[in-house]
Subunit: 527 residues, 2 copies
């Protein structure tokens, strides 16, 4: 797979590794362009399990990945799922859905045909090659997700009279000021112990170019800086097309606003371009898996007891809805993808190490809301196509749909997305009050259109969801307890995003499942 020839590169790296230690080897790897982009490797379950049976608890992405691969390896697989749907947190709210929340709130989603809110995961980094692998295998079509949008807003209630600032203004004005200040210090000789000679010259040249600094190494209002931050009047055609420069935000105002806090949101590894989303909603992935392993799933099954013996596992369950039959499943092995937040409340025969890990884990809260709008005013009136606006208002952010951009029809905004205290505050409101909160906050950024164009709204609180009791699991550190939680406990192994270094990501669920079943299979093959 290496574009430079596998053998020669591997030999070189082995040589460097042997003589210069791991840091030098990593450095050599990265400077050769071949640091790993993804931790995904196709799973290999070799050898015949001789019809060994596995019961999988949970039909989320971890459970269905395990089911797919174990079935293909020759295992006899059954899945117990609490809900009446497959996918777990990989889900999408659509018109007609009825949403029940702990605490009694019920919502009937009123979105139009084709409109939806990805209330769980909503984007797929390009290096989440596990997710991408299964999407390709399961025929789930992906399309680009617009993460960074230079025209989206950054907004602070207490700065610039509460008026939203375009991302490109804040970004380029911040970088302009940083490069101007550094150039001044370098030119004054203040950093001569760090940079001298040719390197100093290159640094100054780079600062001038990077910051679009003028001949005096100042970041000023002119067409050069406008070509980065935006124009007051952009270039046009004919006699009326002359561009006019915009005026940068003053340095002190900019720094005091704190809006620079949002600038690097799009630059983190998870948000590196390009990103993707399934065409038609995130639950297309769930449906893709279900098409493969749906026949193995018993739905509406709330696990009440997990027992292990010398020879196998026995899982008791009852009807989660109270309308169906309970039952009991015995199998040789168990893959348990039940969130630890829920597993801790089940009568389960777990090792004390595993039980301690289960009991010690806490789950993040999480809140999302979506608003369907009659027309895409953010595109038509404000030229914002996809991407995210960040604000210190309770809603936290607004994300504009990456699907069906330019459509003359409706569009559905991610109208609130919060963790922490704000997630609890938003979810404490009634569903109607939440939507009003979203409208009131959104109006402060987008003006009256935000309310005028409103069609329908829906919200989702992961910490009020009975089958997860939270959004995703947290590890203070990935130490002994983590290793114990991942280990095969006699005939049972746990898997899910909570047993990964990618908590809250679908990739974490899939990679955890692949790692868990690989070790379980080794145990089986060892006899």
């Amino acid at each position: 797979m290496s574009p430079f020839g596998t053998m020669s590169r591997r030999n070189l790296l082995t040589l460097i590794g042997a003589t210069a230690g791991s840091a030098a080897m990593l450095r050599a790897m990265t400077t050769m362009g071949h640091a790993q982009e993804s931790d995904y490797k196709p799973v290999k379950l070799e050898g015949d399990p001789n019809g060994a049976s596995v019961v999988i608890l949970g039909a989320g992405l971890a459970g269905m990945t395990a089911a797919l691969e174990l079935r293909d390896a020759g295992y006899n697989v059954t899945i117990l799922e609490y809900q009446n749907r497959a996918g777990g947190r990989c889900m999408t709210l659509r018109g007609g859905d009825e949403v029940h929340e702990m605490g009694g709130f019920t919502q009937k989603v009123g979105f139009s045909e084709g409109q939806y809110l990805n209330n769980g995961p909503w984007r797929i980094p390009h290096h989440h090659q596990g997710v991408i692998h299964y999407c390709q295998r399961l025929g789930v079509e992906l399309q680009p997700f617009v993460q960074q949008n230079d025209s989206a807003y950054l907004h602070s209630q207490t700065s610039f009279d509460g008026k939203p600032q375009r991302f490109s203004w804040v970004k380029n004005d911040y970088l302009g000021n940083v490069t101007e200040l550094l150039a001044k210090a370098v030119n004054a000789g203040s950093l001569d112990d760090e940079v001298t000679g040719e390197v100093k010259d290159m640094l100054l040249e780079s600062l001038r170019a990077y910051g679009a600094l003028d001949g005096d190494m100042r970041y000023a209002s002119n067409l050069a800086t406008s070509n980065f931050r935006d124009y007051a009047k952009p270039p046009g055609g004919g006699l009326t097309g002359a561009p006019e420069p915009s005026v940068p935000i003053g340095r002190d105002d900019l720094l005091r606003s704190g809006l620079w806090e949002y600038l690097r949101e799009h630059d983190t590894f998870e948000h590196h371009a390009a990103l993707f989303q399934p065409v038609g909603g995130m639950d297309m992935i769930a449906k893709g898996f279900e098409a493969e392993v749906g026949s193995l799933i018993t739905f509406d099954a709330r696990v009440t007891r997990i027992a292990q013996s010398e020879t196998g596992v026995t899982i008791d369950y009852e009807s989660a809805s109270g309308t169906g039959q309970g039952g009991s499943v015995t199998a040789d092995y168990c893959v348990c993808t039940i969130p630890f937040s829920v597993l801790g409340q089940i009568d389960a025969d777990l090792s004390s190490d595993l039980q301690n890990a289960v009991d010690g884990m806490w789950y993040y809260e999480g809140f999302k809301a979506g608003l369907e709008m009659k027309r895409r005013f953010w595109e038509q009136d404000e030229q914002i196509y996809g991407g995210i606006t960040f604000t210190d208002l309770p809603i936290g952010q607004i994300s504009y749909p990456s699907a069906n951009m330019m459509s003359a029809g409706p569009g559905t905004l991610l109208a609130a997305y919060r963790f922490g205290k704000q997630a609890y505050e938003l979810s404490a409101l009634t569903p109607e009050q939440r939507i009003e909160r979203c409208l009131a906050d959104g109006e402060k950024i987008h003006g009256p259109a935000y309310r005028q164009e409103f069609v329908a709204g829906a919200s989702w609180a992961w910490h009020r969801t009975s089958w997860t009791l939270g959004c995703y699991g947290h590890w203070d550190e990935y130490g002994t307890a983590y290793a114990q939680a991942c280990a095969v406990d006699r005939r049972l192994v746990c898997a899910g995003e909570h047993l990964s270094y990618l908590p809250g990501w679908q990739e974490g669920a899939i990679l955890s499942a692949l790692d868990a079943i690989t070790r379980l299979h080794e145990r089986v093959m060892a006899g």
Copy 2:
């Protein structure tokens, strides 16, 4: 259209404008979030031209925009087009196309079904609202164009042993070093005349956050910086998922490499996210226009003379291919979109001002090549989905297709894109040599796959194209000559990208056309 209410905002701006001058007004506009994103305004040609006739020279986007709008306004429109196709520089090379170049080179394009090279314009900024307007009106579907890709490469033949560096490494290592150096200078008090007190504190806090600096305000090798630049081993799942940090490029190596020169390519106004492309190729726009005004076009018509009189214009033309009939068209008015590079060689009755502008304009050279590959190894092996690699090799850049990403089938790379000296050097090669140059250069970045997966190639030199004699027009300054070139000359007005502040962009052609026909129509209405 203003989200804050048109009246109050306009009143406020008028007040500010009256009392504080234009700069203050622009500042107020920009801080309110409503600086113009686009210079496009829908054209309004009011009043009945009473059947006045217009002959339009050139069926490119400027000519067809003029034709569409003038026809809709009641004019009697005819178009003369040199080629046997509509669209001008809005074009796409596909399998089966035969390409003839000045100097005698002929290529028969060997791309597979569905593969193509946009040999002219290839991307549409979101603020090119003129192009977007006509795409929507003409039913041309747009899809996101991935401009910035953190995983694409920056490459220098003389740095890092010629090994390509991921964009995210260079970007984040540069920003890490800049923020570290500035923090040092600020902490040393070197900039106390610029920043003090709370602002100084905020600056330091922002630098720490922006650069992912450690507790000693250093940009170091750790998981925090890896979360921006890339990991040596990215986070995974289960027991094997622990991430490993990568090692940043050393400051001196980074600055000496000059790779920072490419960092801001994606941050200029034209490249602000989001960008778009037509589904299926850029010529979908040409076809969209042609569906509307194709019946007005006489193809294969080389204009040989442009005459004006008191009452109208007479255009003589001959068969460009030599196989058809020439002829003569008389009309009340003429919109001439012929590039000045070509117009200067035609016997035309132009005012001396206009003739001087025509004769004084020079056109940029431009070279593009495309390579179809059997499989998308840049996606499958290197996790590069869309975006652009920049290099100091002759090819200049490689761009990865934004369409059909994740496809198991073939993909076509933009394998060279140059202006300047390198465009001439590349186009001086035979078509076969050009492809070999692309393969040899591409191999240095992507390794042997680049040649192994090669299917077919095509190239295009705009300066060797008989109907443009160049890529796009250049103005040293937008002064008197520009105004004279845009002015209505008796019964004729010129339009095209060369008469815009957006040279080389389709938006420039469209906005120029709209401006020109608006002024021509005013002349007609004035009688």
